[in-house]
C-alpha cells in the first residue's frame, strides 16, 4: 500500500539506491538518536552505541546504514554530524515539507500545537475544517480555514503531504479532495480504510488497533482466555 509500482527494471530516481521499506522505517529513529548525540557534543559513535540507544541489533543497524553508502570508519565508528546529515538527506528532511491538517477537533488541535513538526522537517501551512464555527479560531499561530480552500492552499504552497484528523465517515471524501488538489502522501488518523489511486501513499495511525494488539498479548500473559466455544450463536457450524 505504501509502495507505488516501481518502473520495472529502471530505478525511480537515477543514482538513488533502493532502500528496503523496513530500513526506511528505522532511519528516522537513528536520525533522532544522532541529533541527541550531536546536542550532547558527541563527535563519534560506534554501531554498538547507536544500536543500543535505539533498541536495535547492531548488525541490523550496520546493514541499514550500508544501504546509504559507506559512511563509517572501521576501527573508529561513525562521525555523528556527518551521518546525521546523510540520513536526513536520504529521508528528505534537509528542507522543510509544507503540510496541511484537515479536521481541527480534539486531535487536530493537539497536532497543530505539536512542536515536534518544525524540528523534524515539517511545517504546518494550513489548518482546515468544514465546520464554520471552527473557522474563527487561531491555533498555534495558524488560523483555521474553510475546507474548500484546500485546492488554493495546496497550489500556493506546493503541499505534497496531508494529514486527516476528521471523523471516519468524512475521511474518504477528504482523501479524494486531497488527491484532486494534488496531494500525493496522506497520514490518516481516522479509523477508516482509504482507497487512493496508484502513486499516492497512505499511512495510517490507529490508536485502537495498537491498544487491541497490546490487549491480545496481555490476555495471553495472564491466561485470561474466554471459554473456547461458549455458545454457537445464530448460524454456528454445528
Amino acid at each position: 500500500m505504501t509502495e507505488s509500482t516501481p518502473a520495472p527494471g529502471e530505478p525511480r530516481v537515477p543514482g538513488a539506491r533502493e532502500i528496503p521499506e523496513a530500513t526506511v522505517a528505522r532511519l528516522p529513529v537513528y536520525l533522532r538518536a544522532l541529533t541527541a548525540l550531536a546536542d550532547a557534543g558527541t563527535a563519534t559513535c560506534s554501531s554498538e552505541e547507536l544500536a543500543s540507544s535505539t533498541g536495535v541489533n547492531s548488525a541490523k543497524l550496520r546493514k541499514d546504514l550500508s544501504y546509504l553508502g559507506s559512511y563509517g570508519t572501521r576501527g573508529v565508528g561513525y562521525d555523528v554530524a556527518y551521518l546525521r546529515y546523510q540520513i536526513a538527506r536520504q529521508i528528505g528532511v534537509t528542507q522543510d515539507w509544507p503540510v496541511v491538517i484537515v479536521g481541527i477537533g480534539n486531535l487536530g488541535h493537539a497536532l497543530a500545537n505539536y512542536s515536534g513538526f518544525r524540528s523534524r522537517g515539517f511545517r504546518v501551512v494550513a489548518l482546515l475544517d468544514a465546520d464554520p464555527d471552527r473557522q474563527d479560531e487561531v491555533v498555534a499561530g495558524v488560523d483555521v480555514r474553510p475546507f474548500r480552500d484546500l485546492d488554493r492552499i495546496v497550489r500556493e504552497h506546493g503541499v505534497a503531504i496531508g494529514v486527516i484528523a476528521t471523523p471516519a465517515v468524512a475521511a474518504q471524501n477528504v482523501a479524494d479532495r486531497m488527491v484532486t488538489a494534488g496531494i500525493t502522501s496522506i497520514l490518516n488518523f481516522a479509523p477508516a480504510v482509504l482507497a487512493v489511486p496508484d502513486g499516492v501513499d497512505v499511512r495510517k495511525v490507529d490508536l485502537s488497533i495498537e491498544l487491541q494488539i497490546l490487549a491480545y498479548h496481555e490476555q495471553r500473559k495472564t491466561g485470561a482466555a474466554t471459554d473456547p466455544d461458549p455458545l454457537a450463536v445464530q448460524g454456528g457450524v454445528a
Copy 2:
C-alpha cells in the same frame, strides 16, 4: 520487542494456538469491518467482500482467519456476528480493559476525549499528571489526579495497560513507575526509546516517523534529491 519469550515447546496458554504477529495486527481491522457490516444488518459475507473492504488480499484474509479456527462455510462465506465474536474473543476485547493515561497535555486531552476507546474494548479509569495546575481539571468526566496516585489506581482497578503522553524526557521515568506499579503493556506516544524488563510489551506511536517515511517516498516520486555528496563536512572520508 513485542513478543515476550515464549516457553520453548509449550504454548503460553493451553489450547490457544500461536497466532503470527502480522495476523494479530490485522485482526482489529477485520473486527472493525465486521462491526460495520453487523450495524448495516448484513448477516453473511465472503472473504472477498471482507478483504476488499479492509484493503487486503482475500487469500491473506482467509489464512489469517484460519489461525482462529474454521469459522467459515464453503460455498457460503462467514457468519458476520459469529466471526465478529470469535475475533473479539481472540483479541481479548469481549470485556473492557481498564487503562490509565499519563501526561494530560495537548495530546493527553485529545486521548481522554476520544470516544473510540469505550466502543473498542477499553475504559479510561484515570488521568494522571505531574503538574499540580492540571489536577483541578476534569476531562471527559474523569478528573486529573497527581502522578503519585499511580500505584493505588493500578492496584484498585487492576490496570494492565498504560498510555504515556508526557514529554520525551519524562517517558522513561514514567515507564519505570508503571512497571513497578504492575502495568505490563505500554502504549508510548513520546518520541523516546523505552527500556523495559522482559514480559512487558511496549508499542510506540510516532507521528514524526510516519511523516518522515512519507517524506522519503515523496522525495523519490518528485525526484527532488539533494546532491549526492555536497560537502565533506568535518571528518568525512575523503
